[in-house]
């Protein structure tokens, strides 16, 4: 083993992010609470440099590092750029919320950056062990972040539930991975695929057994029904910036993770996992959308809406070809942007002692804050899948792939469920535009920079919706270059 054979430069963005996060962790120890803005801007600068390194390192051909433990292919690189953007949005939107609630600490930044590192390792892992290490780094950081408000009963309850269920899911996943190893005698994703599909040398029964556990673990992490129980409580109990963090960037990581495990390692078992994902997608779409109607808390409503959106993501993946994967990738990227914008508006309205998380808090928002009511309107229309907004094209791409596969009933079911879902999104619009405000207009939190970024984020939902082709083409090419089909 020598230094050159490691190919460590392939992982330059991750190595930089790790060193910078350690530096921030130590530097913040010498920063007083009043000067915490230093940590904030330094973290954003680190994210910008990481993003630049990712874009610079973009290669059409997959690059391997650390003796085939790590790969930088277009799919991973683009997903990582999306995650960097997602985490940057969390830090920008969450600043004033965190400052108002006494969690504007160095740990917020170092843990958020470590969770980003975990996501990036997940996206780039090509070995079951690296996949698992990335997943654990992400999960452990998130457990701690959810519990950041230590004296809040709701936060600690949410963190406890998240931790226990997350640990159970990790156990399931590891058990499944151990069976895959038992069936193929390899931990490398490409070798597992090779042995199961081409050489037929693996043990198919044991591999199917392992597949069941792996799919269970993935469904837990995605929050697909029937493994969704943690989602609403965690979304509601966590501080809103952390809810945004859980609800946006890790979905991209989970997408990449699913592609590695199902589309790459278990490629030969596509019919088997397709039928499992059909069940998960149908249940997620139905229960997510129907339960969201009954919610009065907007964070809980977003939680159930996430569950239904994960149903759509699974629809794209279960198609099992480049068209389906790129549709799911497009869905994950655009959902990340939409969810970030939604939580951004919630945090803008929240202030000290007021969470802005009840639906009634949005009554008459169009009178008091017309611009941001309009922005929330864009988010809601995009989530509901109204044409010209990006959510429509994301849904369209997924449904087209499902119809091309010949599963018309599944597409019809998904459309019917999105119609039901449109009800609760439009209800928020109705509250904002047709109801009377409950109290006097309260000032918005957040500085000018936050508001400009949030407005751009919301307008991007319209912009990408008007011109979806460039992004879709970029993501399709990335999937094509990354998956050897």
């Amino acid at each position: 083993m020598t230094w050159t054979s490691l190919n460590a430069w392939v992982a330059a963005p991750e190595i930089f992010l790790f060193c910078a996060t350690c530096a921030i962790l130590l530097l913040d120890l010498f920063v007083s609470d009043a000067k915490r803005g230093f940590t904030h801007w330094l973290s954003l600068a680190v994210l910008v440099v990481t993003g630049a390194l990712l874009v610079r390192g973009y290669h059409a051909a997959p690059q391997y590092a650390f003796s085939h433990m790590f790969v930088a292919d277009p799919l991973a690189t683009l997903a990582k750029v999306g995650m960097v953007v997602g985490v940057a949005l969390v830090l920008i939107y969450g600043r004033s919320y965190a400052a108002d609630r006494g969690i504007f600490k160095g740990e917020l930044y170092s843990l958020a950056l470590f969770s980003l590192l975990g996501m990036m390792v997940m996206a780039s892992a090509i070995n079951l062990l690296t996949l698992y290490v990335g997943l654990e780094l992400l999960s452990l950081s998130l457990y701690a972040l959810v519990a950041l408000r230590r004296d809040s009963v709701e936060s600690t309850e949410a963190a406890m539930k998240y931790f226990v269920l997350g640990a159970l899911a990790s156990g399931m996943l590891l058990y499944g991975m151990s069976m895959l190893y038992g069936a193929t005698a390899s931990l490398n994703v490409l070798e597992i695929s090779q042995r199961l599909m081409v050489e037929q040398s693996g043990n198919p029964l044991l591999a199917t057994f392992g597949l069941v556990f792996v799919v269970t673990g993935i469904a837990f992490k995605l929050g697909a029904v029937p493994f969704h129980m943690w989602v609403p409580d965690v979304y509601q109990g966590a501080p809103t910036p952390i809810t945004q963090l859980i609800g946006s960037a890790p979905k991209l990581a989970a997408f990449a993770f699913t592609i590695r495990l199902l589309a790459q390692a278990m490629e030969g078992f596509t019919p088997e996992w397709r039928s499992m994902l059909v069940v998960l997608a149908v249940l997620s779409l139905a229960i997510g959308n129907l339960t969201a109607i009954a919610q009065t808390n907007i964070k809980r409503m977003f939680a159930y809406s996430t569950i239904s959106h994960m149903g759509f993501l699974l629809l794209g993946i279960l198609v099992g070809n480049v068209v389906g994967y790129s549709a799911a990738f497009f869905y994950a990227v655009t959902y990340m942007l939409t969810a970030a914008a939604g939580f951004g508006v919630v945090m803008l309205l929240a202030r000290q002692g007021f969470e802005a998380d009840r639906l009634d808090d949005y009554k008459g928002l169009a009178r008091t804050h017309p611009w941001f009511a309009g922005m929330l309107l864009l988010v809601m229309f995009s989530m509901a899948g109204v044409p010209v907004f990006v959510g429509f094209f994301a849904k369209l791409a997924v449904l087209k792939a499902v119809v091309d596969l010949g599963m018309v009933w599944l597409a019809v079911f998904a459309v019917a469920m999105s119609l039901i879902g449109a009800f609760y999104y439009l209800r928020v619009v109705k509250l904002m535009y047709f109801d009377e405000p409950e109290g006097a207009a309260a000032p918005l939190s957040g500085c000018m920079f936050t508001r400009v970024v949030l407005s751009l984020n919301c307008l991007a939902l319209l912009g990408i919706g008007l011109f979806p082709n460039d992004l879709l083409l970029l993501l399709t090419n990335a999937v094509e270059f990354s998956l050897p089909i």
Binding site: C22, L25, L26, L29, L206
Partner: protein, 122 residues
Amino acid sequence: MLQNYFPILLFLVVGILVGVLPMLLGWGVGKVLGTNRPDAAKLSPYECGFEAFEDARMQFDVRYYLVAILFILFDLEVAFLVPWAVVLDDIGMFGFVSMMIFLAVLVVGFVYEWMKGALEWE
């Protein structure tokens, strides 16, 4: 395939029997042969001859857990250091620098906990 797991099933059955059988035997034989005359002295917990002081379920200071967790965290690295030291001649500079990177990461954590006051008792 599944029959390969038969030894494990057998092991489980034997394990359960070894655990449960003596208890059942002791309880059954005691029922049949022994006499049952409990009194206060027989039922009290035994503590070296004198009266029991307090409830066994007492509260621990949470700081003990902190110390225990930190101890485990930094104790585990010895499990990596010893085998590394044994084969250092064979793995050369590459192995040396790799371990130094690992230790540097641990030092970051150490500095953090020290500065945060996790090592102060009061």
